[in-house]
């Protein structure tokens, strides 16, 4: 009698419990909910729940003119609006067979790469913030991003939702003060990236926290359709800018940084390296930038022939694709958006199980998602 009673008391039995991380939580990067089952601190199961930011952009696009959809695309990945504009414009141009003037192509590359730097700065800053570095890297990164956003504000007039690219080019040429400012930025940027590298790259605590955590093996990464830095950190050399060059990316010389094991640290490193590569591309494009028109002759209301087209770009978060179906009217018949964040999110469960809550947060941070793109 006595023995069994004691045995019952002595056996430490833990019971898994469910913790809702989000939808309002400092590090879910928006309104995202992770329904986690925890055994103590250990994550047993994660189920991503989203849809809190669903605005029905795909449906709204069906009721607007082709040009009128551009402001909507701004609101997808709202930290990388230029890239969204670019992807959408490429899709419409492909559908309607519109060519883009040379200068506009170069400017598009410059702006898209600046946008990649800006987006990666946020991604890296937020990731380090999730690791617990109390806002310091985040604010440093924001300072650099601010310089880029200043340029975007100069060309487009707004700081977040640029709505600058148009079907067939741009709505207006960049102002005269843009290029000197860009040169200044290009001169300063490498030094600042170096500085941030010094801040935490070799930090022992960060290495302990991020190295080997949340490994996404190569095969799994391909199988779950991961893209962008998440895929490349797993060691897959897949960059649409190189593999399927859109716009004029085949004219530039740059490398595709890849990771080795696909852990959080690799994803962080890949993003930082990509910033450097982007700077290389911008430098080349800046040197080759021709003068001339920035918009080809495009009717006010674009009316592409009936058909469908899928255009994809390497957005900062991954492969951003627009699948447009036209019925020869002034509005798209169907506009499907292949959102990189959504598909990268599939990897969360694989990566997080077995790790602690703290790791779940940084694994989630390392995927770098934006809710505007997931929920659409």
């Amino acid at each position: 009698m006595r023995d069994t009673r004691y045995a019952r008391i002595m056996v430490l039995k833990t019971e898994p419990f469910i913790l809702n991380i989000g939808p309002v939580h400092p590090s879910t990067h928006g309104v995202f909910r992770m329904r986690t089952t925890l055994d103590g601190e250990v994550v047993v199961d994660v189920e991503p729940v989203f849809g809190y930011l669903h605005r029905g952009i795909e449906k709204l696009a069906e009721e607007r003119t082709y040009t009128g959809v551009i402001p909507l695309t701004d609101r997808l990945d709202y930290v990388a609006s230029m890239s969204n504009n670019l992807a959408y414009c490429l899709a419409v141009e492909k559908l309607a067979g519109i060519s883009v003037p040379e200068r506009a192509e170069y400017l598009r590359v410059i702006l898209a790469e600046l946008q990649r730097i800006a987006s990666h700065l946020i991604a890296v800053g937020a990731f380090l913030n999730d690791c617990g570095a109390f806002f310091t890297p985040f604010l440093y990164m924001f300072r650099e991003r601010e310089k880029i956003v200043d340029l975007f504000e100069m060309v487009s007039g707004q700081r977040l939702l640029y709505n600058y690219m148009r079907i067939g080019g741009f709505n207006q040429d960049v102002p005269d003060e843009f290029l000197p400012a860009l040169d200044k930025l290009l001169a300063q940027m490498p030094r600042f990236i170096e500085e941030y590298e010094r801040l935490l790259k070799e930090n022992e605590i960060l290495l302990a926290r991020a190295k080997g955590v949340g490994i996404l093996p190569k095969e799994v990464a391909i199988n779950i359709s991961a893209s962008g830095p998440v895929l490349r950190a797993s060691g897959v050399k897949w960059d649409i800018r190189k593999k399927d060059p859109y716009s004029i990316y085949d004219r530039f010389d740059f490398d595709i940084p890849t990771g080795e094991v696909g852990d959080c640290y690799d994803r962080y490193r890949v993003r930082v390296e990509e910033m450097r590569q982007s700077l290389r591309i911008i430098n080349q494009a800046r040197r080759q930038l021709p003068a001339g028109e920035v918009k080809s002759e495009v009717p006010h209301l674009v009316r592409p022939p009936a058909g469908e087209a899928y255009a994809h770009i390497e957005a900062p978060k991954g492969e951003l694709g627009f699948h447009l179906v036209s019925d020869n009217s002034i509005a798209p018949y169907r506009c499907h958006i292949r959102a990189p964040s959504l598909l990268n999110l599939t990897a969360l469960r694989d990566m997080a199980i077995g790790w602690k809550v703290a790791d779940l947060i940084i694994i989630f941070g390392s995927i770098d998602i934006v809710m505007g793109e997931i929920d659409r």
Partner: protein, 372 residues
């Protein structure tokens, strides 16, 4: 200046014969007032230092609107927080929820009873002063666990569990590090320890200082060990469900503990109130602020460790080093009781460097993934 003169008079009065009529009570009253004023002022100062200092390190200004240089910002915060509604969650354990901030806050103030602000200028010159500090400092953990349990919130619970785990593990290296100091000083009274520091013990006990600093940071949950309120993981940890005055108590507790640990470090390792030219209390305050600034600095820079890494750091890294430190100190005291301190300083520094190198090579902390 008023404080200075009153402190001097206290120092004088404490040397009065114990049968001086009412001496004890006057002493008690004055020092209670001084401690509360000192602790709360310094807490406000620390909040200001932390917010401004961190702001500047993060390339921004920090609060600068309330008062000159934003000095009154803590006051403004306190006023705001006092006016806030006190929310108690429906399923909370009301008594525990109510009691927790008090239990957590009071010990942080009680620590100051044995901290000397000048020669003998302290509320109670306990012969076991340092044991008292260790004992009292751990009580806060109970308040934190009460908060975590009483709020019936899973975040709070996780945070409280982490808090308890870290306090329990870090108590041991901290106490062992203190033991080294006690051996060198030959007394447990904080005042005697300060008097024994002809050269600051940070030089005689460099390893002890490092261990105590890391352990102390972990015990009061300063970054990089701020696991129990881990902003990016547990929203606010144990005080997620607190608002209004109760939250203010926790907030004050956090900084009062930081003041306390800084004061203890200053007393044990940096020579307390001793120093040339300036009055003793000013030396003491400057040293406390210096120690706290290092805490702010590390908080600004470092990421947070994980809970298993925190535990491993305590048990695999700090604990053996603290033991070795204690043994080495004991041997030194036994073998060369009259050795000149200036000879021991380089020896101890060399021992510290060697041990840290060795332990860095030997031990891997944390084990990472768990199969589920």
């Amino acid at each position: 200046m008023i404080l200075n003169s009153s402190l001097n008079s206290i120092a004088y009065s404490s040397t009065l014969p114990p049968d001086w009529p009412g001496g004890f009570w006057w002493h008690w009253l004055l020092f209670t007032v001084i401690i509360i004023v000192f602790a709360l002022t310094l807490v406000m100062g620390f909040i200001w230092i932390e917010r401004r200092g961190m702001g500047r390190m993060q390339a921004r200004l920090g609060p600068n609107q309330a008062g000159p240089f934003g000095l009154l910002q803590p006051v403004a915060d306190a006023l705001k927080i006092l006016l806030k509604e006190d929310i108690i969650p429906a399923k909370a354990d009301r008594i525990v929820h109510w009691l927790a901030p008090v239990v957590a806050f009071a010990p942080a103030l009680m620590i100051f009873a044995v901290v000397p602000f000048g020669d003998g200028a302290m509320l109670a010159d306990l012969d076991i002063g340092i044991l008292y500090v260790v004992a009292i400092a751990s009580i806060s953990a109970i308040g934190i666990f009460m908060a975590g349990w009483g709020s019936s919130n899973k975040y709070s619970m996780l945070g409280a569990m982490r808090g308890i785990a870290s306090v329990v593990s870090y108590e041991i290296p901290v106490v062992l590090a203190i033991a080294g100091v006690v051996l060198v000083a030959g007394s447990m009274s904080l005042n005697q320890i300060v008097l024994a520091q002809d050269i600051p013990f940070i030089l005689l006990q460099p390893l002890g200082f490092l261990l105590f600093f890391i352990g102390g940071c972990a015990e009061i949950n300063r970054s990089p060990f701020d696991l129990m309120e881990a902003d990016s993981e547990l929203t606010a940890g144990f005080h997620t469900e607190y608002s209004g005055m109760k939250f203010a108590m926790f907030y004050l507790m956090e900084y009062a503990e930081a003041v306390a640990i800084s004061a203890i470090i200053a007393t044990l390792f940096l020579g307390g109130w001793r120093g040339p030219l300036l009055p003793p209390w000013l030396w003491f305050v400057l040293k406390v602020i210096f120690v706290f600034f290092i805490m702010v600095w590390t908080r600004t820079t470092l990421p947070r460790v994980r809970i298993d890494q925190l535990m491993a750091l305590a048990w695999k890294f700090l604990f053996p080093l603290a033991l070795i430190n204690l043994i080495v100190t004991a041997i030194q005291i036994l073998v060369w009781p009259d050795a000149l301190p200036w000879i021991l300083v380089p020896i101890n520094l060399a021992i510290m460097a060697l041990l840290i190198l060795l332990w860095s090579k030997l031990f891997k902390l944390g084990w990472g993934r768990v199969e589920v």
